[in-house]
């Protein structure tokens, strides 16, 4: 990683720590650029190919439910592809820089660790947003070519998918700081992802349990983010107390918690 623009080079020789936001912005931009360089367009090509193939297949098999099937399949594919790509980069972002010793170059300058971490996280959020936006354009074009308008909740669904990505990439970034390999980071994040979709059901079952196990399960349950809250793909009309703001607040809370834990863990590492 090279940081050549922004305030890092401008204040590179200064012993004082750089301003938080300009540093974070430079790290974010570099993280985003680095991720985009890496097989980025292959992902879109695979998505477009799958979407076109599915549209041909759905036209024949789903008959009068073609619009619904095409919409669901496209949104599902988008979410899974963004998840895979974002998790891969979240798991690799810091360990790779440690392995290649690039991180020593960065911290030899007065770059604060919280700014570095927030930049990494912001770069990954930007990556997810960009991927979703490009795939949404492909998906919407395909739907309009087939003569189907997107559902009324399309924009809300996309926003919720992105909020899910914000939560999971924040957690993956945190896990990558203590996990033994990027693969184990991705596996742990994947488990959290699946558990996150079970959270309402888990809470329902916990309510029915009693004794010490209930206390243990209750405290464990709120350590898993409720990703079903963002699953508008499955239930576009699902109501949440507080509406969209609660969803944003909840995602921000998880991202901040993961960030706070990462800062605590990262400040003890020696570079």
């Amino acid at each position: 990683m090279k940081i050549t623009n922004g305030s890092i080079t401008a204040f590179g020789s200064s012993p004082a720590p750089l301003a938080f936001f300009p540093t974070a912005r430079s790290v974010a931009a570099e993280t985003f650029r680095d991720s985009v360089k890496n097989r980025f367009f292959t992902v879109f090509a695979v998505f477009a190919a799958c979407a076109i193939y599915a549209s041909l297949l759905a036209g024949v098999m789903a008959v009068d439910e073609e619009a619904r099937v095409l919409s669901d399949l496209g949104l599902g594919l988008m979410e899974l592809m963004t998840l895979a790509y974002a998790l891969f980069h979240a798991a690799m972002a810091i360990p790779r820089e440690m392995e290649t010793k690039t991180i020593y170059l960065i911290f030899s300058r007065p770059v604060s660790r919280p700014a570095y971490l927030s930049g990494k996280a912001a770069g990954l959020y930007l990556l997810s947003a960009f991927m979703l936006a490009v795939m949404a354009v492909i998906h919407l074009s395909m739907l309009s070519l087939r003569g189907f308008p997107p559902g009324a909740a399309y924009a809300a669904i996309m926003a919720c998918i992105w909020l899910k990505m914000v939560i999971i990439t924040s957690l993956a970034l945190f896990i990558s700081l203590f996990s033994t390999s990027p693969v184990s980071t991705m596996v742990i994040a994947g488990i959290i992802w699946t558990l996150g979709h079970f959270t309402p059901e888990a809470r329902f079952l916990i309510e029915k349990s009693a004794g010490i196990s209930a206390v243990f399960l209750k405290s464990a349950a709120w350590l898993i983010p409720d990703l079903q809250l963002y699953n508008l793909r499955d239930a576009p009309s699902a109501a949440v107390p507080g509406g969209a703001w609660f969803r944003v607040f909840y995602a921000a809370l998880w991202a901040l918690s993961a960030y706070g834990a990462s800062v605590l863990l990262f400040r003890k590492k020696e570079f």
């Binding site: 699946t194 329902f204 990703l227 699953n231 918690s257």
Partner: protein, 233 residues
Amino acid sequence: MIYASAAAVLTALLFFSSRVCPPSPFPPPSALREVRRSAIEDMLALSLGARRLFADLWFIRLMQYYGTQELYGGEEEEEDGHCHHGHDFGSGKYPEFLALSRHIAALDPYFKNAVLYSAGSLAFNLSRPDEAAGLLNYALANTPSDWKFLMMLAAIGYSKSSEPAKVAQTIAPLVRERDCPVMLKQLAAFLNKKIGNYQAAAEIYADILKTSKDPFYTRNAEKELKKIKDSRR
């Protein structure tokens, strides 16, 4: 000190927000019964948050199953799948039909077209009105007071008392809906024809021709329209 207080605030907020999160809008996982070795698929549907997508997949399977002709000793398969037209249209045994329909309703109880299609086929084509009512009541548990389901229940009630005119009248508002399953339109047209309301039947067949992409229904609608026009001359 700052870190500790920040951690305490975040923990308290996380705890509070997890208590505010709403319950799942779906039936519990125990409502899913395995059909055709679906356990792994069901697990994926729940864990990936893809109930809707998997419900689509099962609906396609249901249509393929129902669209495949049941052969009894000595019968030969017809080109179009269902071999029966008119009074016994779509009839047969199709023993897995209810299990597949319930599976779709358990995965995605908001998939109204699938529930209406299944209930209509069970009640009017397969002569299993009790199973159809059971399916509708199951779907109504998740979407109480859904007028389409209630209307279908009423139509099933009339069909049990052999009142085709009342059934046709009850399902008429459903048929006017843009996304009404084509099978229900077909049924409405057939009932109208049966009670001598050829004008209404012709309108519904014309609508099927305009809106459906299913070649089986469009071909049948074309044929029926031609018959009605010829009978009027």
